[in-house]
């Protein structure tokens, strides 16, 4: 053994699997936002179980905002696919459409609030109403943050910085947007079922 001059010892440790850290961080951020809403909806259930709970109809506008948010997710996804195919103009247009739909969504939520106010459901009052303001408001704030993100992406798209070889930003924004859309659908179903 010891006179073998021409052998070479090969010990090849594996490179650990890894993902783009930024994308990974985005998922973790999403997890924490999810926990925030989980805890608030759990609080809703716990509080509701204690009785003294005011019943009222959810504003119908919230149903429309569900449609808008789904449409915006579709356009975002189309933008994402366009970016993967290097269709720069389409990317710009789809992201712009998504942004506009985001604003429409916010406007609808705001009108929904006005609806509730005209039915004498205020932030201050029975927690059944307060919860809705808090949940929709908090979700709206996240939508605003996502709109800012969309504008950043739009800016990159305008500078042709988004392409099939440079997708990180687009991908993260798409993920976040879909997540917020799903989150709203969850909130809507939750609030509809647990009146």
């Amino acid at each position: 053994m010891n006179e073998a001059v021409d052998f070479k010892i090969v010990e090849a440790p594996a490179k650990p699997i890894s993902m783009n850290p930024k994308k990974f961080g985005m998922w973790l951020f999403i997890a924490s936002v999810m926990m925030l809403f989980m805890s608030l909806t759990s609080a809703y259930i716990v509080r509701q179980a204690e009785g003294n709970w005011l019943y009222f109809e959810l504003p119908t506008l919230f149903m429309i905002s569900c449609g808008v948010i789904i449409a915006s997710s579709v356009s975002m996804q189309l933008g994402y696919w366009a970016a993967k195919k290097d269709q720069f103009n389409k990317v710009k247009n789809y992201v712009a459409v998504t942004t506009v739909l985001g604003f429409v969504f916010l406007a609808l939520q705001y009108l929904g609030w006005k609806d509730m106010i005209s039915n004498s459901i205020y932030l201050v009052g029975n927690p059944s109403g307060s919860f809705i303001y808090i949940l929709t408001g908090l979700h709206g704030l996240h939508i605003m943050s996502a709109i800012v993100y969309l504008l950043i992406v739009l800016n990159s798209a305008a500078k042709l910085k988004i392409s099939s070889s440079n997708m990180t930003q687009m991908e993260m924004c798409t993920t976040y947007w879909h997540f917020l859309g799903l989150l709203w659908l969850y909130l809507f179903v939750f609030l509809t079922l647990l009146r």
Partner: protein
């Protein structure tokens, strides 16, 4: 997707090349707004130490009141000013504020930010073989949010109505109504603002730690080869991400109740005979939300200390850690179970007794992984070639506290027994031993152990021993008697018991506790001197002073930006190859390939070395 990955790869590669050329920063970018994980770690450490000092002084102030209720404290006038009554006693309202701030500071600012912030930041990149955190910018942001949060909490100590005074758990309605106590006014508002910023800081930190551990490990560093410190920091961060948003939700609803008139937590309250308009809220709801964070939080505080201890005990016993997989498994078990036991803090809130039994069961189950950890520490020490460095002593101290404090947890975990013990000094004794002292000792152990890598110099061992023995004995003298005081029925957060004949018997015991607390605080100045003096004057540290196996000791004496001047080492083995039979040295670092240690390889390790006879070209793969 493939193109994407390639792109990412080029990014990191780029970074590697420039890693060690980043020296030309000015004072501001190097020491203040630094993105280097080592500098940020030191920032967290120093801020945490400042807070520990403040928190310690506050505790001695209220111990003076409890131990010497008749004393005249007017000599404290220069510090306390208007918070002393005419007879020279601490104002009862201020007493509550002291207890509250002590708890808040110690739990969040010292043992969460100070501990995780310091050691996760310092050790994660160094031990997994990364140049820095995944996002240096987010890391910097995390510190500055913490700093801002600290400033606000600090300011709240000095306002005329005093800081928050509703206990560190800030239960409403006490904390929700400014009319209730002076501390629930501006002080409470500042507390909430400060904690909101704190949560942001903590989330930014945790996201970074997890991302880094998962995605930035060096070649060969599989999960099974991670040092237990990293496992602990990783799981701590996971718990943080899942639980801090819940505290945020609790605080958010409280903010709305306080400032916007909602009634999430308030109902049927009369103040001075007048009914408040708030209807329909539930204060119990707050407790559920708070303790859903609160119980995981105690493990956020403890797990990093346990990880640090694993590392130090293995290194200084010169033995592989006993039951590596069991250690990881029990930490995982603790992390999961910590989310399903929160209601053991609420046994006496009128909870359904059946539900109480369920939570009793779950609570007792969490004692199992805790016991596994203690068992493994002791078996690692067993027949070890023990070197009693100060870090080692503090680690053994942690094991001791974790045991004595954990045992009382079993009593408290029984819903029937807890009816008697809840909100007495027994609880105070329990959590100060198991959480406060154990984590504090873990933090101290970490500072003594990694000081050479942080500052490139050595601390003095003799002063370390003095610090250890004074603190160790002091802690037991402070907290052990509290068990008896608690069993006798003394409630916590009471300003004075002299009004009750029944309790007068314990005046001497309380005095002893207070004297011990003062001595323990004084002992920390030994440490402070040791620490500060030796940053500048300590003797130069060798690169690997403890003959340790993990990667941080392969860096130069004072690692620069990018940590390794050359390539990042590759990892071939687990981190606990101490006293391996056949080996020349009593430790084999992680970056030594098995092919270089044929004398000590086990059969299955030899199998990993492939012999490639004659094939020179094929095998050019060695890193």
């Amino acid at each position: 997707m493939a193109t994407l990955d390639v792109h990412h790869h080029i990014d990191t590669h780029d970074h590697d090349d420039h890693g060690h050329e980043h020296h030309h920063g000015n004072f501001w970018t190097t020491y203040i707004f630094s993105e280097d994980h080592k500098v940020i770690a030191k920032q967290f450490l120093l801020t945490g130490m400042a807070w520990a000092l403040i928190g310690g002084v506050l505790s001695v102030l209220f111990r003076l009141q409890l131990g010497f209720p008749e004393a005249n404290l007017s000599w404290l006038k220069p510090i306390l000013g208007g918070w002393l009554t005419a007879e020279g006693k601490i104002d009862p309202e201020f007493y509550l504020a002291l207890v509250t701030m002590h708890g808040t500071i110690m739990v969040f600012f010292v043992l969460t930010a100070g501990l995780s912030g310091t050691f996760s930041n310092f050790l994660i990149p160094l031990q997994i073989g990364a140049r820095d955190m995944a996002s240096g910018f987010m890391n910097m942001l995390s510190y500055w949010f913490f700093f801002l949060s600290s400033v606000i909490m600090f300011i709240s100590l000095f306002i005329s109505t005093g800081p928050a005074a509703g206990g560190w758990v800030i239960y409403p309605p006490l904390s929700a109504l400014p009319q209730a106590i002076p501390g629930s006014g501006l002080g409470m508002t500042l507390w909430l603002v400060s904690m909101a910023l704190f949560i942001v800081s903590s989330l930014l930190g945790s996201i970074n730690y997890i991302t880094t551990v998962i995605n930035m490990r060096t070649v060969g560093m599989s999960f099974a080869k991670l040092p237990l410190t990293i496992w602990a920091f990783f799981l701590t961060a996971v718990i943080g991400i899942l639980s801090f948003p819940v505290l945020f939700a609790a605080a958010l609803l409280l903010i709305f109740d306080r400032s916007f008139g909602t009634s999430f937590y308030l109902s049927d309250i009369y103040i001075g005979g007048e009914a408040l308009p708030n209807q329909g809220g539930s204060p119990i709801l707050f407790q559920h939300l708070f303790w859903f964070l609160g119980h995981p939080e105690v493990y956020i505080v403890l797990l990093p200390a346990l990880g640090i201890t694993s590392e130090i005990i293995a290194t200084n016993s010169r033995k592989p850690i006993f039951g590596y997989k069991a250690m990881v498994g029990s930490m995982l078990g603790i992390a999961i179970l910590s989310f399903v036991v929160w209601a053991h803090h609420m046994f006496v809130t009128g909870m359904n007794p059946f539900l109480g039994s369920v939570f009793t069961l779950l609570t007792l189950i969490i004692a199992v992984p805790s016991a596994v950890k203690i068992f493994n520490y002791v078996t690692t020490l067993w027949k070890g070639n023990i070197r009693f460095t100060p870090a080692m002593l503090f680690s053994i101290g942690l094991v001791s506290f974790f045991l004595t404090g954990g045992i009382t947890g079993l009593f408290l975990g029984n819903s029937a027994v807890d009816i008697q013990l809840h909100d007495t000094y027994f609880v105070v004794a329990h959590f100060h031993l198991v959480m406060g002292s154990a984590s504090f000792f873990g933090m101290m152990a970490g500072v003594y152990h990694w000081f050479p890598k942080m500052f490139g110099r050595m601390m003095d061992e003799k002063l370390g021993y003095l610090h250890f023995w004074l603190t160790f004995i002091g802690v037991y003298l402070v907290f052990f008697p509290m068990h008896y005081i608690g069993i006798a029925g003394f409630p916590r957060r009471y300003y004075s018991w002299t009004a009750f004949e029944t309790f007068s018997g314990f005046a001497d015991l309380n005095m002893l506790v207070s004297i011990a607390a003062i001595i323990t605080l004084a002992a920390q100045f030994v440490f402070l001197f040791n620490f500060i003096y030796h940053i500048f004057r300590g003797k130069l540290a060798p690169a690997n002073p403890w003959n340790s196996t993990t990667l941080e000791w392969t860096t130069p004496r004072l690692p620069g930006h990018g940590n390794w001047p050359g390539e990042i080492p590759t990892v071939y083995r687990w981190p606990y190859d101490y006293s391996k039979p056949g080996s020349k040295e009593d430790f084999i670092p992680q970056h030594i390939p098995y092919s270089e240690t044929p004398e000590s390889n086990l059969p299955h390790e030899n199998d990993q070395i492939k012999l490639d006879l004659g094939g020179a070209g094929v095998g050019g793969h060695k890193h």
